[in-house]
Amino acid sequence: MKIARSLFNGGLIAYTGLFFAFIYIPLVVIAVYSFNANPVNMMTWTGFTTEWYAQVLGFKTKVSESALYIESTGQLLQAVWNSLVIAASTTAIATVFGTAIAIALYRFEFVGQRFYRVVMFMPMLMPDIVLGIALLIFFVSSGIRLGLTTIIIGQCTFLISYVFIVVSARLAGMDRTLEHASADLGANEWMTFRRVVLPQLFPAIVGGALLAFIISMDDLVITYFIAGVDVTTLPMFIFSMLRRGIKPEINAIAVMMLSFSFVVASLGLYLRSRQK
């Protein structure tokens, strides 16, 4: 019986190891193969090189003489820039709006609170494509030109929800007696908010902002519909490359995006765990 139990436990742990392997090995694989020198067959290892990274980052390499490559690198850099601009803008807007709603719902009482809560959760449960086309119809019918602005507006509609969830979770779990003590000692609402609530809320706000940033950078579906013809973001770029034909640089781009996401996400999760 002892043996059966240890077998079972051992088996379970082995399975969990496989589970993590399944999740992470593909990522490790492309990281490794991003250094593969083979320009044609990406999965056949011919040698070690960093030229794909160099290529992506704009340095001249043997391959970059070809005009086609230069063009796509230029497009790539433009896409990265667009993504960053969009992410920065949406993060700013969504963080402010999301925090505002969280505070309104968790520190005030009013009619229609339930309605707001439902609206906040809708984007999570809805498939992105539905929201994407709804926005597309809206923008075009109202005559608004598709471009950076529409992308920013469109992304904000669901990013607000993400920030809301993070901040409101913190608000709900906060010790209200501290605010009561502050009021008791003579501080008015604004002061209590500034000196007692905000400092406690700050890590959650930052966490929500980081979350919004990452999701904005990675968003494909909604951006895809409302970007119009002139603007491309990084995920869109990769998506179209996948459909047209894969170049080895995508490997390098992918690895860089993964690393970036990992670092930012780790930072965000670390901050969240600190606040606990």
Binding site: P26, M43, F108, P127, I129, V140
Partner: protein, 299 residues
């Protein structure tokens, strides 16, 4: 200013701009989409403002009989999407459950570490994670390379652009979504109940079926909903891993908007996905409401 009116002012300040934004850019577009689904498509894209129920009719196969014959293709695609989404739910559940079970019994430090590792990929780009599978599954991909070079097969296998590839890709993407609710449920399980069951003579298998599974069912149900709906309306995964060969409902919708420019029809298709989502949400509310009411009655 009285306290009450000051509070109202603050509330207005907080809610005003956001509410306006969301009303115009979130609820507005959704409403417009609903309306559009009932309109007729214009000749060069755009819409004509006439009531046109045939969008929905066409989904079921029956469009305007003057121009189109009975064509069940949309139903077929819808059913296929439901099938794929359901299989994805099943696959993610089977994959996640044992892992959740194992992790819930680890020490606090290990638990947090594992949770961190599982949520991390959630924050990376979907498209990048799918790209990985393209590289692995395609004809010149890793799997075929390994099998060919080791002599196990002679011609490359057709792994990509199949239903299986899509399910694999979706499972890969949705694992964090299923894992979290399932894990929350498993972690909250009162282990003395398991002991009680064993004590009363039920073996491990029976204990699993009668005690552990029913008590973790809420987590499983939650995970199923969170995975099924996005899987159903997904178009990225089938676009990348299914190519033109395996089309899902999401691809259909995309097609209507960007290629065929038949917005009303596309909107109708989207409404169909929305209605599935609403049905599932209502079902969940009703089920948990029934449980909640029973609990309330008990007090």
């Amino acid at each position: 200013m009285s306290i009450a009116s000051r509070r109202r002012f603050q509330l207005g300040l907080l809610l005003g701009p956001v509410s306006a934004f969301l009303a115009v850019f979130f609820l507005g577009p959704l409403a417009i989409m609903v309306v559009t689904s009932f309109l007729a498509p214009g000749l060069y894209g755009g819409v004509e403002w006439t009531f046109y129920p045939d969008n929905f009719g066409r989904i079921l196969g029956f469009a305007d009989p003057m121009f189109e014959e009975f064509d069940p293709i949309y139903i077929a695609i819808f059913l296929r999407s439901v099938e794929i989404a359901a299989l994805t739910v099943l696959a993610t559940l089977v994959v996640c459950y044992p892992a959740a079970f194992c992790i819930a019994r680890l020490s606090e430090r290990w638990k947090n570490f594992c949770l961190f590792l599982i949520t991390l990929p959630f924050f990376t780009s979907l498209i990048v994670r799918l790209f990985v599978w393209v590289l692995i599954l395609r004809q010149t991909g890793l799997v075929n390379e390994v099998l060919l070079s080791s002599g196990l097969i002679e011609r490359p296998l057709d792994l990509i652009y199949t239903k299986g590839a899509i399910i694999l890709g979706m499972t890969y993407v949705f694992i964090p979504f299923m894992f979290m609710p399932v894990y929350a449920s498993v972690e909250k399980l009162d282990w003395t109940l398991v002991r009680a069951s064993l004590d009363l003579g039920a073996g491990p298998v029976r204990t699993f079926w009668r005690i552990i599974l029913p008590l973790t069912a809420p987590g499983i149900a939650g995970g199923a909903v969170i995975v099924f709906i996005p899987a159903l309306g997904n178009f990225v995964v089938p676009a990348v891993l299914g190519g033109a060969k395996v089309m899902m409902f999401g691809n259909l919708i995309e097609q209507q908007f960007l290629a065929a420019r038949n917005w009303p029809f596309g909107a109708a298709l989207a409404m169909m996905v929305m209605s599935v989502m609403l049905v599932m949400m209502i079902a969940q509310v009703v089920l948990s409401g029934r449980r909640g009411r029973a609990a309330a009655l008990a007090r």
